[in-house]
């Protein structure tokens, strides 16, 4: 008495995740079979191949004109928003692989490291396509668990294990809050899918609002928005620098896109509530992140607080709640992720050269020793401020325009004020890079000239190209993004 129908599976929609997962499995298993001498190259090769495969899949789907529909009921949604986010995520994954190739912990256990990295990218690719509360939670946990392990993977360093444990505790705390919020929303509406939640006649609005609040808190933990960002400096400092760069860029991309999707799709009727809440979180992140960054000496901690402030900037266009805001968010993410990875790449190179944590003191003179790294870091710092000709200039401009459209001048003013505040510490890094100091004998690298890391230099160059290119190539990007945002049910 078979009453069971096989569900229809849209394999194309899952192709990026499948490509990445296949790569992950091959890397993990292959590392057992390949002899130790070739293991590293094998792992990196397979990783790059599977990332390129996933990229090809996502780009193909972007060009195909699909009107956006669910897969297997309402589990994930195949639309251009997910595919564009997947392209950005796979890009960050590729840069992360290039930066990690010189990382000590990656060399020690390449199978596990690159396998987890690929699985993390796959999890984020799944997360941005999630269309119901269940897949939202699962996608979040998927890549978060990968990142907990990756943060701890430099097991020779105590700081790394501690960072991993701290990330796990705080991350699981946030996930539990998100889960409880999801349970309350399920209880209020009786539905798990985002469209179904929006369509349901609320039986109990109290539960819906409480659930929405807890969902925002849970997502806030993930994007390191203040006041849920306390874990960010410690975890970023303790984790291996390549992993930190990946976390700073990719987690933000994934979580911000998902916040946009969840808020606009599932809670469009409660827009008055979540827009103002996100605006408050944005203000807090801008304030706390920028002010705390002013006093940081350690470069990884400085970049961590800088990423908190950028979380504030990224929340602003979502809070605006209009289509221009959606476009601003997606455009902002492209140069932001490139510059974040580029900055951490340079910090990683310096760290490996010096054998100790990079601070404003021991980064001095970098501009003269390694002109490319110095110029790149300077460009990235100026870009984080939002100066042309980097893409973030236009990103901030669009974000401000979105707020202006909504009539929230106060938030624009706050953003402008804190951009001015951030000039101090970003320029402090640039000044340090180009400082000539005579008494540098104590900080000279012990082994003389450091080995050339071609992969890392390539990653820095690519980051530069994306950061500056997104300024000059803004028109085609914006056209693509306009097409993407049209899928979301937000008012223009």
């Amino acid at each position: 008495m078979r009453t069971f129908e096989n569900p229809s599976i849209d394999w194309a929609a899952l192709s990026p995740e499948l490509a990445l997962l296949a790569g992950s499995a091959v890397v993990v298993l292959g590392a057992l079979l390949i002899p130790k001498a070739h293991r590293n190259r094998f792992a990196i090769g397979v990783s790059v191949l599977s990332l390129l495969g996933g990229l090809a899949a996502a780009l193909t789907m972007l060009t195909v004109d699909n009107t956006g529909f669910g897969v297997l009921g309402d589990a994930i949604r195949r639309d251009h928003l997910a595919e564009l986010a997947q392209v950005i995520l796979i890009g960050t994954g590729l840069l992360a692989v290039l930066i990690s190739s010189g990382e000590d912990s990656a060399r020690r256990q390449p199978g596990e490291f690159y396998g987890l990295l690929l699985a993390a990218v796959a999890g984020m690719a799944f997360f941005v396509a999630a269309n119901n509360l269940l897949t939202l939670f699962l996608g979040l946990e998927w890549f978060s668990i990968c990142l907990y392990i990756l943060s701890a993977i430099a097991t020779k360093r105590e700081r790394s294990l501690e960072a991993g444990l701290k990330y796990l505790i705080v991350g699981s705390f946030g996930s539990a809050i998100l889960l409880f919020g999801g349970a309350l929303v399920f209880g209020a509406t009786g539905a798990l899918g985002f469209e179904a939640i929006a369509a349901a006649a609320d039986s109990e609005r109290v539960f819906l609002v409480a659930g929405l609040a807890m969902l925002i808190v849970g997502l806030g933990f993930k994007v390191s928005a203040a006041p849920f960002h306390q874990w960010t400096p410690d975890v970023y400092e303790g984790a291996p620098t390549a992993v930190t760069g990946f976390m700073a860029a990719a987690t933000k991309v994934a979580a911000m896109v998902v916040t946009l999707r969840v808020m606009t799709t599932a809670f469009d009727e409660e827009a008055e509530l979540w827009t103002i809440t996100l605006a408050v979180l944005a203000t807090a992140s801008l304030a706390w992140g920028n002010i705390a960054a002013l006093v940081q000496r350690d470069l990884k901690r400085l970049l961590a607080y800088s990423s908190v402030s950028h979380a504030g900037f990224l929340l602003m266009p979502i809070a605006a709640g209009n289509a221009l805001g959606g476009r601003a968010l997606l455009f902002y993410l492209i140069p932001y992720s490139a510059m974040t990875l580029g900055s951490f790449a340079i910090v990683a190179a310096r760290e490996r050269e010096l054998g100790q944590a990079v601070t404003l003191d021991n980064v001095s003179g970098l501009g003269w020793e390694k002109p490319l790294h110095g110029a790149a870091l300077a460009t990235f710092m100026l870009g984080f401020i939002g100066l042309p000709p980097t893409g973030l200039f236009l990103g901030k401009f669009y974000a401000f325009s979105a707020l202006f459209d909504r009539g929230w001048i106060w938030l624009m003013v706050i953003g402008a004020i804190f951009t001015a505040v951030s000039v101090y510490y970003y320029l402090g890094v640039v000044r340090s890079v180009y400082l000539r100091r005579e008494a540098r004998a104590a900080l000279a690298p012990a082994s003389g000239a450091s080995p050339r890391d071609v992969a890392l230099t390539a990653a820095v160059v690519v980051s530069l190209v994306v950061a500056v290119g997104s300024f000059f190539g803004v028109d085609p990007l914006i056209d693509q993004i306009r097409d993407v945002v049209a899928f979301l049910p937000i008012p223009s």
Binding site: F4, E5, P7, I9, L21, V28, V71, L72, G73, A75, I76, Q109, E112, G115, L116, A119, A122, G123, F126, L134, T135, L138, G139, E141, W142, I145, C146, Y148, I149, A152, I153, T155, L161, S203, E204, V206, A210
Partner: protein
């Protein structure tokens, strides 16, 4: 079985079981948080999970109750107990030297949640909640859950297996690290090999 209980004068029995399980739930939760010895806390968690299973049975979630006992109490908490026993349980009193930030955050969190509790209680006792939906015998049965896992929520099912895979890789990485650390310590007097 739950339908039979409710339909007879076992309504009183349901309430008695519910109150008993609820008290056990809250008491064991407090025990988990307040005991200084983590071994006792883990045992309290097991009691907590048992009372949760009883509550699940009362709301017709038989499969989940069974899974709770088998998987959660039977595997996860046992894993905790093994690790705690292996580590030798470092005792710390819960209230000694709590730093200020944690206390403030805890108080704020508790207040927020207490507010939520009050709201929930008020809402439920002013009769604002609709009655429970009618359910068939298939609700919460293994057949229904199997069907849902293989049809509507197939992706969720597969993703859980990926999460387990990732956790296994993590366990191998961290376990290997522990072993290497031990080996390195054992060889501290002599030359350390690369590892």
């Amino acid at each position: 079985m739950t339908v039979l209980l409710a339909s007879t004068a076992g309504n009183v029995l349901v309430w008695i079981i519910w109150v008993g399980a609820a008290l056990a739930l809250l008491a064991s939760a407090l025990a988990v948080v307040l005991f200084s010895n983590p071994f006792y806390s883990a045992l309290a968690l097991m009691a907590n999970l048992g009372s949760l299973a009883v509550l699940y049975l009362l709301i017709s979630a038989e499969f989940v109750a069974a899974a709770q006992v088998l998987v959660y109490a039977g595997a996860i908490v046992v894993l905790f107990l093994f690790v705690i026993a292996y580590l030798g349980g470092r005792a710390d009193a819960p209230w000694t030297g709590v730093p200020k930030f944690s206390s403030v955050a805890a108080v704020v969190a508790s207040v927020a949640i207490a507010v939520e509790v009050i709201v929930a209680v008020v809402v439920s006792w002013t009769g604002g909640l609709p009655n429970a939906a009618e359910i068939t015998a298939a609700f919460g049965s293994p057949r229904e859950i199997g069907r849902l896992f293989l049809a509507d929520h197939l992706l969720a099912f597969e993703v859980t297996s990926i999460i387990l895979f990732v956790a296994a890789v993590g366990g191998a990485v961290l376990g290997g690290a522990a072993r290497r650390a031990e080996k390195a310590e054992a060889q501290t007097p002599s030359e350390e090999e690369n590892g």
